[in-house]
Symmetry: C2
DNA sequence: CCGCTGGGGGACAACGTTGTCATAGTGGCC
DNA sequence: GGCCACTATGACAACGTTGTCCCCCAGCGG
């Protein structure tokens, strides 16, 4: 800006006025300044501007588990969409389910003075955010609640979803329904297990430990587990999968096998309808989740200081006929 | 920092020293400062720090078409990974194939003084970046080349891929091979069309206009096109799909149809192997693309100022048996 | 001719840091 | 006791902006 001022033969304040479209600059002066800006390729430094103005940095931080997972990339897209409408950039990072990494990312974002934080929490300890929240950075938790702070939270109806999955399978005559879930210290995994249990009880088929296998799961562990489930004295005839990755592992393990158990997966995924058999899922909308959370965040930025809210988004069973009809 | 200094009864410079682990602070003083920091929830302002130090802002900008597309979210993940190793945050935005939006995003990132830019170019005009590049911001183009600036570029072998696809189909006896591609003003779409054409010529089956349908495509247009192709005097017996979205549209349109043409899709996608029939694809690796581009960017940041490079990543045909065997 | 008005423009401080340099105190050595 | 070296600390400027306030001068009315 200094250089521009010198080249145009004006003070830097005048350059600032031109750059900001402030009134009170003679057209001919403005033209000279613009020419200088063009010639020097000047671009105003947003950091300095925000520092001086003490205003918003125009950024929001997004911490999620893995941008590479289509579910989270859908969330990211929705967040970006709304942020854009409100003139914000999104800075994002993947925690890979590691609480330490989550914390590192969140605090780094705070150091950058993001206007707000959206977090898919990895662990159960979030008191590290208290000073930041007290200092005025709004935080919205997404997909899972925070461990030990009270804050806005957007969840999906995990319990209702798995209850519905089990009910659906039981209604088709299944009595040996298995559940493969993610690591039980992950909130959603645990909730879905609870829903599974409740569904079993409601359906009158009872809850049996031997039908449950919690993760972490990879392709091999899923294959092994399926083998076990199918060789029980009373084999499982149906499976509820705790998330999209597990569903895919199951599909891969079952590929080509003759006697396939019925399957209902939590999380919808592309092409689920084109598989044979198509896969029945508990669907919930990544963009709805991202949108709800971002809306909440912006409401806080707009001055809403009502007590923290917890929003639970509905899920819906999408029956596609993945073997529910009990042979 | 001022407040911390006051509370600890020291100068702000001493606080700065403590925060930065600089030597020459008495342990007892440091302790007082740390206590004050803790009490006030102080966190150093990175913008101010970077402004003062004139050093890197620790961010890189990523402009892509749509984070929601699994291909690009894979790229994003890879970029994030490497950026993290080099202590950078990633700011990303989706251009939605709109050159204006791309420009807006890229220049906004420049205003934020990102250390470097990774761009999946939407249009053909990138001279707007010249001043920024001259000012020292390295730019790497990804997946497609820039229109009118010379800069580092990482591409995949689009032509080789489609040549291989056509060759593969022709080897299985197909002589009426159609091509459904994206809008021809998109570099990759055009390249793949060229590859298709060359493949046809090499296979000695000739290039026929009536077998080509360039986009933009949506589910309906793909269905209509397929209908046309199958009702030609000499119907298409095989299809090459220009990208993952088109492949999926085709699969959906063909679902349940009896007489399916063979299909080879450009871009691999999850579950392609589990469909029936499985889908043969031209695979290329989103993370490899992201990694190569980010490595190139960091090489520039490390001072490499050799002439701009163009890296072309190989693709490979993954035969899965999607009806190539001509009945 | 004087004073007032208002448009155009500049000087300067401040945002929150850190680099540079100065200074006060302390202990050791001759 | 005087001098030096060294440690711990602080004062101040500067990074690139913008907000506040002030100044200059042309034009106008009296």
């Amino acid at each position: 800006m200094n250089d521009v001022a010198r080249l145009a033969g004006v003070s830097i304040k005048t350059v600032s006025r031109v750059v900001n479209d402030e009134p009170g600059v003679h057209p001919s002066t403005a033209e000279r300044v613009l020419a200088a800006i063009d010639q020097l390729g000047f671009r105003r430094n947003l950091s300095a501007r925000n520092l001086r103005r003490g205003s918003s940095t125009g950024t929001i931080g997004l911490v999620l588990e893995d941008v590479g997972n289509p579910f989270y990339s859908g969330v990211t897209r929705a967040v970006e969409e709304i942020a854009r409408l409100r003139g914000r950039q999104v800075i994002s990072g993947s925690s890979d389910e590691d609480p330490g990494r989550e914390r590192e990312l969140a605090l780094e974002f705070c150091s950058r003075r993001v206007d707000g934080l959206l977090i898919v929490p990895a662990g159960l300890q979030h008191s590290y955010l208290v000073p930041e929240m007290r200092a005025g950075t709004p935080v919205v938790f997404l997909d899972r609640p925070a461990g030990d702070v009270v804050a806005d939270t957007v969840l999906v109806d995990n319990i209702g979803g798995t209850v519905e999955a089990v009910t659906h399978l039981a209604a088709h005559g299944h009595r040996r329904i298995a559940f493969l879930g993610d690591a039980p210290d992950i909130f959603t995994a645990n909730e879905r297990l609870r829903g599974y249990r409740e569904g079993c009880v409601r359906a009158g088929i009872g809850y049996h430990e031997d039908l449950v296998a919690m993760g972490p799961h990879d392709e091999n562990s899923v294959a092994t587990t399926l083998h076990r489930l199918q060789n029980l004295r009373e084999p499982a005839t149906a499976i509820v999968a705790g998330n999209n990755r597990i569903t895919v592992h199951i599909l891969r393990a079952l590929a080509g096998s003759a006697d396939r158990p019925a399957l209902v997966g939590f999380d919808d995924f592309e092409l689920a309808d084109l598989l044979s058999p198509p896969v029945t899922v508990i669907a919930h909308d990544a963009s709805a989740l991202g949108k709800a959370a971002t809306d909440l965040l912006f409401a806080r930025l707009d001055g809403d200081n009502s007590p923290p809210r917890r929003v639970v988004l509905p899920v819906r069973l999408v029956p596609r006929g993945s073997g529910e009809v009990h042979a």
